[in-house]
């Protein structure tokens, strides 16, 4: 049985950073991912990474912007850690090879981003996530002697013995073999749950695996109602147009050609925080001022950016515009609209990535520290993954030194083997296809748990989720093989997504106010007296999830009215 001090599930930025930090801390480390590490969805992060590295900047300013962006729901101790450690982390990335683009004097160039009071976003064209992810993978290859890689291994469950984490059960996707992995510590770094929505900017792999795995062994989830809609996505398929476009100066125009952000955010305009811009766009569309043939979009006009600059710094979205919308963004405006992009909520952790379950850590989008609160600022997610990935890795490595290696029972493997066997043997009669259920979940969530929400819509969504849970339990699949049986994995993922969706809808119903990404049409005001607190969701057997509250941590900034 493979045994490691630290076992990391997920090999995006948070996971790879955690692995490198844990190995540096002297631990034996393994990193496991259901896809090859460079396919992880961190690869799609485009615009950049925030850090107060300009000598005229101050991390406190970055922290304040983040607190304000979170609509004061972010925990300020965690935000202070993230922002104060950001410059050193970005420099570390630079030192190990990330080719950040430079200014005329050869220092890191910084671009403007939403909700930021000055330019503090370091970038590599508009492939920043890819550039960092690939460099971290280079480091994993370099440190192969210290870090075992299990690429294309799917985690089916977390193993808990005597109240603490003892390892995981996983399936080798390639052979179908099930294996038990003993570990003193498990770090979840498996990303978000965007596939609960359709369309979404997220890849097909973002199915909330880690969120559900932790939830199922009793770890509480936090801020699950906070789902970010990104202001600039292609209407048809949800593809992302980076915020970097607006950072470089692009304008948003409604169907009448008006630069409508003047009404909603007279100071920051297009660079207000994402929740504000998405709401403004949706308002324009709802009130009949949308653009495009069906008036259900908004124009993003990148032609105001010099063409040479666009070709150099926004090359990827030039391609996306050309290949997926048939538009040359350097010559004409492109039609966009808000689309699901990020889940602020996740597995509740402290500033070292620890969950309440001993030995279980989480970092990155799967986790909720909470540094993003009600709304994440653009270019803060890469930072979140790296800072808290590193901290979780360091902390887990230190904990390993004083922990005995568990030796979990093989019964856990047998249990998951028979779970998979049962899925494969489900009869076709009277059952729905997994893909059908997933599609209904996605469209339901996108209709009722979107930019604007109200109680009747959320109740509808909850009822649909409950029905789909029952249907998913008997949904049938076609593939009965062992080699690369993606069908059976999709059935397991569907279960993960439904757990995540139930938590999101439950929390959204609970929060009877409007804050950050949660806008309740029936409670349109922010209500600090009653709702300046986190909503925690815990599993309660097969019953309705348990709802509880936890306090928001304040250090130096008191809540104030949010204006951009």
């Amino acid at each position: 049985m493979p045994s490691h001090d630290v076992l990391i599930i997920g090999a995006g930025l948070a996971g790879q950073r955690a692995a490198l930090a844990a190995a540096e801390g002297g631990a034996t480390v393994a990193i496991m991912s259901k896809v090859h590490p460079v396919r992880s969805h961190s690869v799609a992060a485009a615009g950049g990474i925030n850090a107060a590295i300009n000598v005229a900047d101050d991390w406190r300013s970055h922290a304040y912007d983040t607190v304000k962006g979170s609509d004061f729901l972010g925990d300020q101790d965690a935000i202070e850690i993230m922002c104060s450690e950001a410059p050193a982390e970005v420099m570390h990335l630079e030192h190990i090879g990330v080719a950040f683009h430079r200014n005329a004097t050869g220092e890191l160039d910084l671009r403007a981003f939403g909700g930021a009071s000055m330019n503090r976003t370091a970038y590599v064209a508009d492939i920043t996530g890819q550039a960092i992810l690939h460099v971290l993978y280079e480091q994993l290859m370099k440190h192969a002697h210290a870090i075992d890689r299990f690429e294309e291994w799917f985690t089916t469950s977390l193993v808990v013995e005597d109240g603490r984490v003892a390892g995981v059960v996983a399936r080798d996707v390639r052979s179908g073999a099930m294996e038990l992995f003993a570990a003193k510590n498990v770090i979840l770094a498996s990303g978000g749950a965007g596939q609960c929505f359709e369309p979404t900017t997220n890849g097909l792999i973002c199915t909330g695996d880690g969120i559900a795995l932790a939830y199922r062994i009793g770890a509480p989830l936090m801020d699950m109602e906070m789902v970010q809609y990104h202001p600039t996505c292609l209407p048809e398929n949800g593809f992302l147009i980076t915020e970097g476009a607006r950072g470089e100066g692009a304008h948003l125009l409604n169907g009448d050609g008006e630069r409508f952000m003047e009404k909603y955010a007279p100071n920051k305009l297009e660079l207000a925080s994402r929740d504000v811009v998405s709401r403004a766009e949706q308002t324009e569309i709802n009130e009949g001022r949308g653009a495009g043939p069906r008036r259900d979009g908004i124009y993003l006009d990148i032609t105001v950016v010099p063409r040479k600059r666009t070709l150099e710094a926004l090359r990827e979205i030039v391609n996306i515009g050309k290949d997926f919308a048939g538009v040359d963004i350097t010559r004409e405006p492109i039609l966009i609209r808000p689309g699901q992009h990020y889940v602020m909520g996740g597995v509740k952790t402290d500033v070292n990535g620890r969950t309440p379950i001993p030995g279980l850590y989480a970092a990155g989008e799967v986790a909720c520290v909470s540094v993003h609160g009600g709304n994440r600022l653009g270019a803060n997610s890469l930072l979140d993954t790296l800072i808290f990935g590193r901290r979780a890795g360091e902390h887990a490595a230190a904990r390993a030194a004083s922990t005995r290696m568990p030796s979990p029972s093989r019964a856990y493997v047998r249990a998951d083997e028979s779970m998979i066997e049962r899925i494969i043997r489900r009869p076709k009669e009277g059952a729905r296809r997994v893909s059908e259920i997933k599609h209904e979940l996605g469209t339901t969530m996108n209709e009722h748990v979107a930019v604007f929400r109200d109680e009747p819509g959320l109740r509808t969504a909850l009822a649909v989720v409950h029905r789909l849970k029952a249907e998913a339990a008997v949904a049938y699949i076609d593939d009965r093989g062992t080699v690369f049986n993606q069908d059976v994995l999709a059935a397991i993922e569907l279960g993960f997504m439904l757990d995540c969706a139930e938590a999101m809808v439950t929390a959204a119903l609970e929060r009877k106010e409007s804050r950050g990404a949660q806008f309740r049409v029936d409670f349109p005001q922010r209500n600090d007296a009653q709702w300046l607190k986190h909503i925690d969701i815990s599993r309660n057997g097969d019953g309705a999830p348990l709802v509880s509250y936890s306090a928001v941590t304040f250090t130096q900034w008191q809540p104030e009215e949010r204006k951009y």
Binding site: V35, I53, A125, N319
Partner: protein
């Protein structure tokens, strides 16, 4: 909506069945991707179809396949364009080449692609004290390496590399393109060592035969072959690395012959590459040896009419005026103070600001008017 027929190459190693073709019809708009079509079949008809995919937007690099025999990303190929290249009105999709097939459209990238990537020491090797802040480096150098960094490791170039087909040990387009990402990076202190390593490797940078297939295959404009040529230019012109594979001498002989004759003089190429870059080269023992070794190939080429005996002996003749033009090209290119390299991310283009603003206002007005007429 339109109907498209797909023919998928299926293979399940667990079934004991040989690979076979599997045909399905889908309904989708023509600008939807081949991946969306495959997923429609997978979702609605047969969930056992194996294909790696995630982002659907040509960023994650998972869905490398061959479509109508051409390598590329399934998510990056529109159905109408795929149909236009189909032989019999059916879009044919199969696994990539040069790598073992695991199942259906899924290949073993680990065994080929990643092994080759690991071969080239794929991480930055800086030297000296780690600076407190960032390395101060030239702005343009960082934009320049972005092209090779834009590689998403999809394997499309590896799939159809002709050299790899005959020499599976060839390091290959993806891994060599990755090297340029370090060689071109001013922070890397091992440029010379990296170049020597790849010049001396008998399956290294000089094994590329300039067939351009990887450039066609690459969905991200990395142009692997161009990156390989840049490695060679650095190895030869900048570092003067004389390699055991005769890569540098071969290149010099090639260039000299084209300058002197206007066209390649095939019979002179080998003797000059091995025996020295002049008319006397053929009298060198090394040249004799290689000429003897190549006799069977030469004979075959003559028999098949690829070369005439007269041409082989005396070379091609160009009119003096044309030769003069060739030489003017040489003078111009070699007379430049700096080498000019093609790069996707570095463009000289810029529009005149005022014209652009006026143009833009017109376009938006046009878009808005067009939309109003649709609404009405």
């Amino acid at each position: 909506m339109a109907e498209f027929t797909l023919r998928l190459r299926r293979y399940d190693p667990g079934s004991g069945r040989a690979p076979y073709w599997d045909q399905h019809t889908v309904e989708l708009e023509p600008h939807r991707s081949v991946l969306e079509a495959i997923l429609q079949v997978k979702d609605r008809v047969d969930g056992s179809i194996g294909i790696r995919c995630s982002c659907m937007a040509a960023i994650c690099g998972s869905c490398g396949v061959r479509i109508n025999g051409q390598p590329g990303l399934a998510c990056h190929t529109h159905l109408d364009r795929a149909l236009a290249c189909a032989r019999d009105g059916v879009i044919e999709v199969e696994a990539m080449g040069n790598m073992p097939i695991i199942k259906d459209l899924i290949v073993d990238m680990e065994k080929v692609h990643w092994k080759k990537i690991r071969r080239v020491t794929p991480w930055l090797l800086p030297e000296g004290v780690v600076p407190e802040r960032e390395h101060l480096v030239d702005r343009d150098a960082m934009v320049d390496v972005t092209q090779s960094m834009a590689c998403i490791q999809c394997g499309a170039c590896v799939s159809d590399c002709l050299t790899m087909e005959v020499d599976p040990l060839f390091i290959g387009p993806a891994a060599l393109a990755k090297v340029y990402r370090f060689v071109g990076d001013p922070r890397d202190a091992r440029e010379r060592e990296r170049l020597v390593d790849l010049a001396e490797d008998p399956h290294g940078m000089y094994s590329c035969t300039h067939c351009f297939k990887c450039i066609d295959a690459c969905p991200k404009g990395v142009a692997p072959m161009s990156q390989i040529m840049r490695l060679r230019r650095r190895a030869t012109s900048d570092w003067h690395i004389d390699d055991a594979n005769n890569g540098r001498r071969h290149e010099e002989a090639f260039v000299t012959l084209v300058r002197d004759y206007g066209l390649l003089h095939e019979a002179e190429l080998l003797p000059r590459s091995y025996g020295g870059n002049s008319w006397l080269g053929k009298f060198h023992p090394a040249a004799g040896k290689v000429l003897l070794e190549s006799l069977p190939v030469v004979t075959k080429a003559i028999l098949r009419g690829k070369v005439g005996i007269r041409q082989a002996m005396f070379g091609h003749k160009l009119p003096a005026q044309s030769l003069d033009q060739v030489q003017r090209i040489f003078d111009r290119v070699e007379g430049r103070p700096q080498r000019v390299e093609q790069n996707l991310y570095v463009s000289g283009e810029d529009d005149d600001g005022a014209a652009r603003a006026a143009d833009r206002a017109g376009r938006i007005e046009k878009a808005v008017t067009a939309q109003r007429s649709v609404v009405r």
